[in-house]
């Protein structure tokens, strides 16, 4: 008659009961107060019985359930949750509508959740009109933020009246009730029982008598007043016997729990627990008791004890514990992660359980998982995937499997997830149980294999070497691009249609190679000639191995080849080049000498042998210094150390030939460097310069001599100049004396002696005068260019001065002088003036008789010089004298014909030469002369 479902236990399969017992104290008190005397006694008794019964029922149920669980350890985990009969709700008090209602509500009310959602007032409409006051009271309390527990009647959809108990928890924000969350429990059965109990004492007696559990009514001191048949059975004694028992006789004193229980009962008024009892025969039994103190009608305290022999249950519990441990063990030792999430309002999922593998695999702490929403545990994007899959699984109501990769504290994990929705009896999903099979390592392995394959493909495809697999018969299995390129095909695919025999100029050639391969299994550096698609020979070098296909067992030739056609070409070119080089080396007119790193001779050419006079055999292995004298060795020491330092040089060095003579050579020497830049030897090109050296020596000596002569000449010239000056100066002295006295003699004795004497005196006078002129001329000549500095000279001005100075002579001779503009030059002004003057004087002096002298003066620029011309219409000069006229004191005419010392033109010559020019005459005798002189570049402005 008692429905046990009201207890509202939520129990996991781990055996950790989460009992939410309804607080019935208030109820009991209310009931107690409303009855008096016996009624109260009965009621209390009934309550106690009821309590005990409930507990026992719960235990029974748990035992049953857990036994069932045990049976369905792996596949029936979900069923646990289907037993939940409480309805959970969450109501938005502002919008006055439900946010969430659990399936339990559907059971309680008979209305579907959707109906509640659609009709916000449905919950109120179903309340029994007589009980509406309870809601009003409850509402007041909630508004004040007080948690309520109310019991009232509702009209079930099937029109039956039901009792429900609502525990409501308000959420007040800013003094305003915003949300109420609560649990709705159907307590109809309990209520009915209560009412029934209250209805009839008979019913009580019946209950008392017929109860399967033992019921003892006693005094607080422990004296038993009444015992029901069940109790008698448990104690294996009559009621009278039991009533005669003292507490000590009833209880096993070894149980220390009793005192604690009694204490608690005295304090609280009631107690529940397990106690060991003993029988008169000495046997003991474990019993679950529920005891409460109540006051009888006389106000005396009485106690009620309900006991149940739980020996059998204990055994079952022990077995259950074992099973649970096993389950735990299995749960926590399986290699897969197992987890359970509860579905909650708003399609949220909360972790309620995970096994140790889950924690180990993810590296998460249990407290960071259990009780957390999955979005707090699973990172994106796995989270979104999981939510999709959960939704799918819930929708399909069947298991869903997927692969996911998630980054957990332990690292990136790849797993295959399988989930199963746990449905209640109405087919609603209340939770999801899932397992994760970790395939991270497998994936890694797979990736490594894929990597390896990729690398292999890359090597295969991108290899510069041609790679080809063929069957011995010639069928091409595979090849890479390089192979196709080599053979002249555009892609490897083209080759797959070919037979390898086609790549050879003759089948026999390939057969030869195949038989060699079969014999040796591996061929290294096999050189062969293949036929390019164009028919050209393709020189290749190939490494081939023969192996058996592990699958088909067929023989496969695996070859890797390099095109060496170019190399072959290069080799033959190298050979030709070397031949040419050899010819050059042997025919060159230069000696070639190569030394190794120890500076010993390692190569000499024919020419060098000829030069040094030794045979090649005699020279090889000897140091270069062996072929040198002292002088050569000194040079060589420096040179060779420079060579070691990596420097190239060109220098002269003497060698001593086999015959002992010295030859001079010019060496163009360079170090020989290896790839690392280290000096591994030296190479020299040797040219015989002995003759050149000798010529140089001769030139040097003659140069020295020339230098000496030059210096001597300069010295002598200076001396001569000095001499001429001194001589002429000193000569003047006695001459002047002579002239003076002759003059005196003439003045005093001319005409007084005889005619001869006069003549003599004239001779003396003339000669001394002439000598005076000569000496002065000589003096002038020696002075030319000895004083002045070069100046800027305007020849036009000079000429004007000259013409002015010679005014008398020009007038007397009626000479006509014409000139074209003359240049400005750099020169000695005094000397230039004398030059112009002498030339003009000469032109006037050597005029033809009875002809007006015409003098034309001009200057012309040719290249880098000015050429001056003084032309006249005078007597002219015989060609044979054109040189002599410029020599000092040389005269073409007797003094009687033309006056003058014959120094004028020599002055001119000296002046022109002073200006680095030349002077010459172009003349036709009897017609006139043109005197030319040049002023060269360095005196041109």
């Amino acid at each position: 008659m008692f429905n046990t479902s009201f207890t509202g236990q939520v129990q996991t399969h781990f055996g950790n009961p989460a009992i939410i017992p309804p607080d019935l104290t208030a109820f009991f008190n209310a009931v107690s107060e409303s009855y008096n005397g016996y009624e109260e006694k009965i009621k209390t008794l009934e309550n106690a019985v009821l309590e005990g019964n409930k507990a026992l029922q719960a235990l029974n149920e748990r035992l049953l359930k857990e036994t069932a669980d045990l049976k369905n350890v792996h596949n029936e985990l979900s069923r646990i949750f289907n037993q939940v009969n409480e309805g959970f709700f969450s109501r938005d008090m502002i919008a006055d509508k439900y946010i969430h209602m659990s399936v339990g509500c559907e059971k309680t009310y008979g209305y579907s959740i959707d109906e509640f959602y659609n009709n916000n007032l449905l919950w109120l409409q179903v309340i029994h009109p007589d009980d509406l006051y309870v809601i009003e009271k409850e509402s007041e309390q909630l508004q004040q933020g007080v948690q309520t527990l109310s019991a009232y009647r509702i009209v079930h959809k099937d029109q039956s009246i039901r009792w429900i108990e609502v525990k409501a928890i308000p959420e007040v924000i800013g003094g305003r009730l915003v949300k109420v969350e609560g649990i709705v429990t159907d307590i109809t059965a309990r209520k009915v029982a209560e009412i029934l109990l209250l209805d009839s004492e008979a019913k009580y007696r019946s209950f008392f008598e017929n109860n399967l559990d033992g019921v003892l009514l006693s005094k607080p001191d422990g004296a038993i007043e009444e015992a029901n048949p069940a109790a008698c059975e448990i104690y294996r004694a009559t009621q009278e016997e039991i009533c005669s028992f003292t507490r000590e006789e009833l209880l096993n004193h070894g149980d220390h729990q009793l005192l604690a229980l009694l204490e608690e009962r005295n304090r609280v008024g009631k107690v529940k627990g397990e106690v060991n009892f003993k029988r008169r025969d000495g046997t003991t039994f474990a019993a679950e008791i529920a005891s409460s103190i109540f006051k009888d009608a006389n106000g005396k305290e009485r106690t009620c004890i309900i006991l149940r022999d739980i020996t059998n249950r204990k055994r079952a519990e022990a077995a259950l514990l074992m099973s649970e441990r096993k389950l735990d063990l299995i749960y926590n030792t399986v290699a897969d992660s197992i987890f359970m999430v509860n579905t909650e309002a708003g399609d949220r999922f909360r972790f309620v359980s995970v096994n140790s593998c889950f924690l180990k695999s993810t590296g998460l702490q249990r407290e960071n998982v259990i009780g957390k929403f999955i979005e707090e545990v699973i990172p994106s994007p796995s989270l979104e995937l999981a939510l999709d899959k959960y939704a799918l699984s819930i929708h399909l109501q069947q298991s869903v499997t997927w692969e996911e990769q998630t980054s957990y504290p332990s690292g990136i994990k790849i797993g295959i997830v399988t989930i199963n929705p746990v449905l209640d009896e109405n087919g609603n999903c209340i939770s999801i149980i899932g397992s994760v099979h970790d395939i991270t390592e497998r994936k890694k392995g797979e990736r490594r294999i894929a990597d390896s394959e990729r690398r292999y493909r890359a090597i295969f495809e991108q290899n510069l070497a041609g790679i080809i697999q063929t069957k011995p018969a010639g069928e091409v299995i595979t090849c890479n691009q390089a192979c196709a390129d080599m053979l002249g095909f555009t892609s490897p695919a083209e080759l797959l249609h070919c037979n390898a025999n086609d790549f050879y100029f003759s089948v026999s050639e390939r057969n030869k190679f195949i038989s060699l391969l079969k014999e040796q299994k591996k061929l290294y550096n096999y050189e062969g000639i293949l036929k390019h698609r164009t028919g050209k020979p393709l020189h290749i070098i190939e490494n081939i191995s023969l192996f058996e296909d592990p699958v088909t067992g067929e023989e496969i030739c695996d070859g890797m080849m390099i095109d060496i056609t170019e190399r072959k070409k290069a080799e033959s070119m190298l050979k030709e080049s070397e031949e040419r080089y050899r010819q050059i080396v042997e025919t060159t007119q230069e000696g070639i000498w190569m030394l190794n790193s120890d500076l010993l001779t390692v190569f000499v050419n024919k020419k060098l042998c000829e030069l040094i006079g030794y045979s090649a055999a005699e020279m090889l292995g000897k140091p270069a210094t062996f072929f040198m004298g002292e002088e050569g060795r000194k040079i060589a020491e420096v040179a060779l150390s420079r060579r070691r330092g990596g420097f190239s040089d060109n220098f002269d060095i003497p060698y001593t030939t086999k015959s002992g003579s010295t030859i001079w050579t010019n060496l163009s020497a360079s170090p020989i460097l290896n790839g690392e830049g280290e000096v591994t030897g030296a190479l020299a090109m040797v040219t015989d310069i002995t003759k050149r050296k000798m010529d140089q020596e001769l030139i040097r000596i003659s140069g020295e001599n020339l230098d000496l002569t030059n210096r001597e000449l300069k010295r002598k010239n200076t001396e001569l100049q000095q001499f001429a000056y001194v001589a002429s100066h000193d000569l003047q002295e006695p001459l002047r004396t002579m002239a003076s006295f002759v003059q005196l003699l003439k003045q005093q004795y001319e005409g007084k002696l005889d005619g001869k004497a006069d003549k003599y005196l004239n001779f003396i006078s003339d000669s001394s005068n002439r000598m005076k002129v000569l000496i002065n001329d000589l003096l002038d000549y020696s002075r030319i260019g000895s004083k002045n500095e070069m100046e800027i000279v305007d020849c036009n001005k000079i000429l004007q001065v000259v013409i002015a100075d010679l005014h008398t002579a020009i007038t007397d001779s009626s000479a006509e002088i014409n000139w074209k503009p003359l240049p400005v030059i750099k020169g000695y002004p005094t000397e230039i003036k004398q030059l112009f003057q002498n030339l003009v004087i000469n032109a006037i002096k050597f005029r033809k008789k009875a002809t007006i002298p015409r003098i034309n003066i001009s200057a012309e620029r040719n290249d880098d010089r000015w050429t001056f011309a003084f032309s006249d219409n005078g007597i002219g000069i015989d060609k044979s004298h054109s040189e002599r006229i410029f020599i000092i004191f040389q005269r073409l005419h007797t003094r009687s014909e033309y006056q003058g010392s014959g120094i004028g033109l020599s002055h001119c010559k000296k002046i022109v030469e002073l200006h680095h020019g030349k002077i010459w005459v172009d003349s036709v005798k009897g017609e006139g002369s043109t005197f030319y002189f040049t002023i060269p570049g360095k005196n041109i402005l």
Binding site: K759, F763, R891
Partner: protein, 151 residues
């Protein structure tokens, strides 16, 4: 010097008037020649010899000289130039005078140069003296019954 010992003609080639005056005096005083010819330049001397050889043999003024005193330094044609021209005439010249270079030049090279010219018999420095004339005549002209002849 008697007539038989005298030379027929002495020629002096010099451009210097006082020198010629002195030489004339000296040669006349020495009484060693029947004729004396003073020629003022090489060109004139050459002209003399040409006339002597070809055109004007008969003309009394052009007497073939036995002894010629030749100056070097002369305007227009000097002694050396004269000698070159004279050599061209020489082959045709039946008469070969004794040519003595008479110069103020102290240059030994001139002496050497003169020695290498076959036509030149001697090299003397000015001034001309009677002793020099004596010595030259004794050296170059042996006394014969008919006067002096070239040795």
């Amino acid at each position: 010097m008697n007539e038989l010992e005298q030379l027929n003609c002495i020629m002096v080639i010099d451009d210097d008037e006082p020198t010629n005056f002195l030489n004339t005096m000296l040669i006349e005083d020495a009484n060693c020649t029947k004729h004396l010819r003073i020629v003022e330049s090489g060109l004139k001397a050459l002209d003399y010899f040409e006339n002597l050889l070809r055109k004007k043999k008969d003309i009394i003024a052009y007497i073939p000289p036995d002894l010629v005193f030749l100056d070097i330094n002369m305007p227009c044609m000097n002694g050396w130039e004269f000698l070159e021209e004279y050599r061209n005439l020489q082959n045709e010249q039946p008469h070969r005078p004794v040519i003595i270079m008479l110069t103020t030049s102290l240059d030994p090279e001139d002496r050497v140069k003169a020695a290498n010219i076959p036509e030149v018999a001697g090299f003397e420095n000015k001034p001309l003296t009677s002793e020099m004339i004596d010595r030259l005549i004794k050296t170059h002209f042996a006394p014969t019954g008919y006067g002096r002849s070239l040795q």
